[in-house]
């Protein structure tokens, strides 16, 4: 009976999804096809990389079968741990959104349908999303392993089953935790906890990966990776479902001599036990949790009041300043944005740490005479890159981030040019902050660098060029549904826009780099004596780009924004 209800709800979801595809515009269809292609390409790329790695292991460790098996187990286990991290990082929010924030949940709960049937349908829908998301990172490694070892079809079936059971275990436990937490915490508080937890977890992953990278780049030995990975031994992690999955699947490969039953039994028990428990408890707890999802939290009244009064007296007047002030104020109050800034700062910190070590150990010593300029330019472009990645989620998409509130600007006497200038300043904010502080920091290090003023001049121009590109893209392709949480679009909306903005910015930085490298590229052809002239040509090129960008912003982009303000 309940299964029948679940099927009715899911069938309706599936139908509306398919009907939606039928009515989709060419652009939307292309977007969907593009997303599927990218998904498949990424999965294939991961799989190919893993296949090459396992193949390499087979070749290099062919004479040491025990060592090969140990390394393979560790690699597979670490890949599963990565999936577990991703599920913890993203799965909790995905499940929460599907189960508690699904727009039709209220409608379904009003119907004469058992509560746990509604929960069950949402549980399965979010499980589907988790599978789609995690398969990309998790399954290719197992398929690659099977191919490298020449295993039969049975292995792939078992690997898929094990992987799905592992995901169901995670999903069941997450759902149980959510059900319990939502019973006692208001929805907004839950969201804040998710964000804080995900941010800390994400930052820990970034730090861990950067530490690993630093270790490898310092030692210059790829086996350091394997040594680091070797810490994830199965026996030491017996309590994790990743270990059960690895044991269960590898139990089918005779060479490994692993007891597969010891993996399958706890995995099956956890997967079906947690799912059953979640369904059972949902009958009592889901409705209470769902109705509390929109409960308000009183904001920190006094704190806002003090800030509010402080700016009242002496504030810069005019549309430009008021738009910029509003944007920076909302940025300051959006903790989610700070995640991107912290990640960028960590990246920049490790970059300078690695470079300092490389200089200290003399790795860069031989290159100093010829390639100091290259490194010096990179020292300017790296903070611009980090800043532009940050601004591709903040100032660079600030027009889109106006969202539904854009009517306020449209209904006020605001000229398109002033608004564009304010948005441009906001987009350039992070690159400018990063590049100027990094260049000043470099003055106190031994790292190769341009002179402070040359560096600042190049950095400011590069920042403004990237900001112009981002704002032009936002003016021509705005997405007012865009909402950003923890470095990604919330609910998947606007993912294409965020990626386009970020990759276009990177492309622009590569282009700027190419212009700045003109003296190096053409030095061999024109001789050392031509370097000063080539440097001038390089900076003229940069100026030409800046003039081109300015012309575009003042002309077509301003016209386009004027149309957005007056005809939308």
């Amino acid at each position: 009976m309940v299964v029948g209800y679940i099927w009715i709800i899911l069938r309706r979801d599936l139908r509306s999804l398919l009907a939606g595809r039928g009515k989709a515009s060419v652009k939307e269809r292309l977007g969907s096809i593009g997303a599927i292609v990218i998904w498949a390409l990424l999965g294939s790329a991961f799989g190919y990389g893993a296949w090459r790695l396992f193949g390499h292991l087979a070749e290099s460790l062919g004479g040491f079968p025990d060592l090969r098996r140990a390394v393979e187990i560790n690699l597979l286990n670490v890949s599963s741990l990565f999936v577990l991290s991703m599920v913890i990082l993203m799965g909790i929010q995905t499940t929460y959104k599907t189960v508690y924030e699904s727009p039709d949940a209220g409608f379904l709960l009003c119907q004469p349908v058992p509560v746990w049937a509604v929960f069950g349908a949402k549980f399965l829908a979010s499980f589907g999303t988790t599978v789609l998301m995690s398969t990309l990172y998790g399954l290719p490694a197992w398929i690659a392993f099977g191919l490298a070892r020449g295993l039969g079809v049975g292995f792939y079936i078992l690997a898929t089953a094990g992987f799905l059971l592992f995901l169901l275990s995670c999903h069941g436990v997450i759902s149980l935790i959510l059900l319990m937490a939502m019973r006692y915490l208001p929805g907004r508080k839950m969201k804040q906890l998710f964000i804080a937890f995900s941010a800390i977890f994400g930052i820990l992953i970034v730090i861990a990966s950067q530490l690993l990278n630093a270790k490898v780049s310092q030692s210059g030995d790829p086996t350091a990776i394997i040594e680091s990975l070797g810490r994830g031994r199965l026996s030491e992690m017996w309590y994790l479902p990743t270990t059960w999955m690895t044991k269960g699947i590898l139990g089918s490969v005779r060479e490994f001599g692993i007891d597969g039953i010891g993996g399958w039994v706890p995995l099956l028990l956890l997967a079906f036990g947690s799912t059953y428990a979640a369904l059972l408890l949902s009958e009592k707890w889901y409705l209470a949790g769902w109705s509390g999802r929109t409960e308000e939290l009183r904001p920190a009244k006094k704190r806002v009041r003090r800030a509010s009064r402080r700016v009242a007296g002496s504030r810069l007047q005019g549309v430009y300043w008021s738009v910029l002030r509003k944007d920076l104020k909302t940025l300051w109050r959006d903790p989610v944005v700070w995640y991107t800034v912290v990640v960028a700062l960590i990246g920049l910190g490790f970059f300078s740490y690695n470079m300092t070590n490389a200089v200290g150990e003399g790795i860069l010593g031989e290159a100093q005479s010829t390639d100091t300029t290259v490194l010096s330019v990179i020292m300017v472009l790296m903070p611009v890159l980090m800043g532009s990645v940050t601004s591709s989620q903040t100032g660079g998409v600030s027009l889109s981030r106006e969202g539904e509130s854009f009517w306020i600007l449209r209904a006020c006497p605001v000229s398109a040019r002033t608004l564009l200038l304010a948005k441009l300043t906001y987009a350039a904010f992070w690159p400018l902050v990063f590049v100027s502080s990094f260049l000043v920091f470099l003055e106190f290090t031994v790292l190769p660098r341009l002179t402070l003023w040359t560096g600042l001049f190049s950095g400011v121009l590069a920042s403004l060029l990237v900001a112009s590109l981002q704002i032009a893209l936002d003016v021509y392709f705005p997405d007012f549904t865009l909402r950003i949480e923890l470095g990604a679009s919330a609910g998947g909306k606007g993912t294409g826009k965020l990626l386009t903005t970020m990759f276009s910015s990177m492309g622009m930085i590569v282009l700027i780099g190419a212009v700045l490298f003109i003296p190096l590229i053409f030095r061999s052809r024109f001789g050392e004596g031509a370097v000063p002239v080539l440097s001038i040509v390089s900076y003229l090129g940069l100026f030409a780009m800046a003039f081109g960008a300015t012309g575009f912003m003042l002309g077509p982009a301003t016209k386009r924004l004027h149309r957005m303000l007056t005809d939308m």
Binding site: R298, P299, S322, T330, S405, I408, L409, A411, P413, M568
Partner: protein, 273 residues
């Protein structure tokens, strides 16, 4: 104060507003009525410079809206049908922001904000983030934003939706006051009682065409000539003009069907017993 001449808006093959002509004089409250999807919001958006007309022209306080939208927006205030606001600003900060965009002197802005917050009973919550406000409170903040610049012309799209009766009454009084002070108010509403009691003139739009315009009395005499029309409310007139009367018959059928099915089920129970 407000003039629209042959105002037309087409979206592809769909004509949302078709050759609309109207005038609103100073001191007048104009009620704009029509069924869902009739073209009310599109008309308002053209009049306030948020959408450009496909053809035709509109003037607000003598300023051509399409040609000089920035100048037109200086003299008008606008309240949209849904109160979307910046969730991470406080009510006071949003009003300050709007004051700055309208280039009001800071001292005057602060004084006006104090007045408006007191008027809308938001003084205690003016320094809280708008994300925590209810729909009605956000609506009040949007109305305060529109009133901040003391506009000569005010456009309101469904202003009383989400407001409690006390606040709705307050809004009605404010609109009357603006009109009495020589301003013009253009208000779109579904609440016909408000239109009947508050508006000096009303216009009814259907399928993008302005099908009737005038005082309620004028509309009554046009729609139902003679003494018979005297008992007609604006609701009756609206239904008569927009073809809503046909639903009455359907509703009558529906209720008679339900009665008969109720009878038959009662009969079934009786038979089983």
């Amino acid at each position: 104060m407000i003039t629209a001449v042959n105002l037309t808006k087409r979206y592809g093959s769909l004509t949302a507003v078709d050759n609309l002509n109207l005038t609103v004089k100073p001191g007048e409250i104009f009620g704009f009525l029509g069924p869902n999807g009739a073209g009310k919001t599109t008309t308002i958006k053209m009049l306030v410079g948020l959408t450009s007309p496909t053809s035709g022209e509109a003037w607000v306080a003598g300023t051509p809206v399409a040609k000089d939208p920035v100048a037109a927006k200086r003299v008008l205030g606008y309240v949209p049908d849904t109160p979307h606001v910046y969730e991470r600003l406080t009510a006071r900060e949003l009003l300050r922001f709007v004051g700055d965009l309208r280039r009001l002197p800071p001292d005057r802005t602060e004084k006006k904000i104090d007045e408006l917050m007191a008027l809308f009973e938001l003084t205690d919550r003016q320094d809280e983030l708008l994300g925590g406000f209810s729909h009605g409170m956000k609506q009040k903040v949007c109305i305060a934003c529109a009133l901040l610049g003391e506009p000569k012309v005010l456009f309101l799209d469904e202003p009383t939706v989400g407001l409690d009766p006390r606040s709705a009454r307050l809004v009605k009084d404010i609109l009357r006051r603006i009109a009495d002070d020589g301003g013009a108010v253009f208000v779109s509403t579904h609440v016909l009682e408000i239109a009947e009691r508050m508006c000096d003139r009303v216009g009814i739009i259907q399928n993008g065409v302005l099908i009737a315009e005038g005082t309620v009395e004028e509309l009554r005499s046009k729609a139902v000539p003679g003494k018979e029309g005297a008992g007609f409310s604006l609701e009756d007139l609206f239904l008569k003009l927009t073809g809503g009367e046909e639903y009455k018959e359907l509703i009558r059928h529906l209720s008679s069907d339900q009665t008969s099915s109720g009878d038959s089920s009662a009969g079934d129970v009786a038979r089983r017993e």
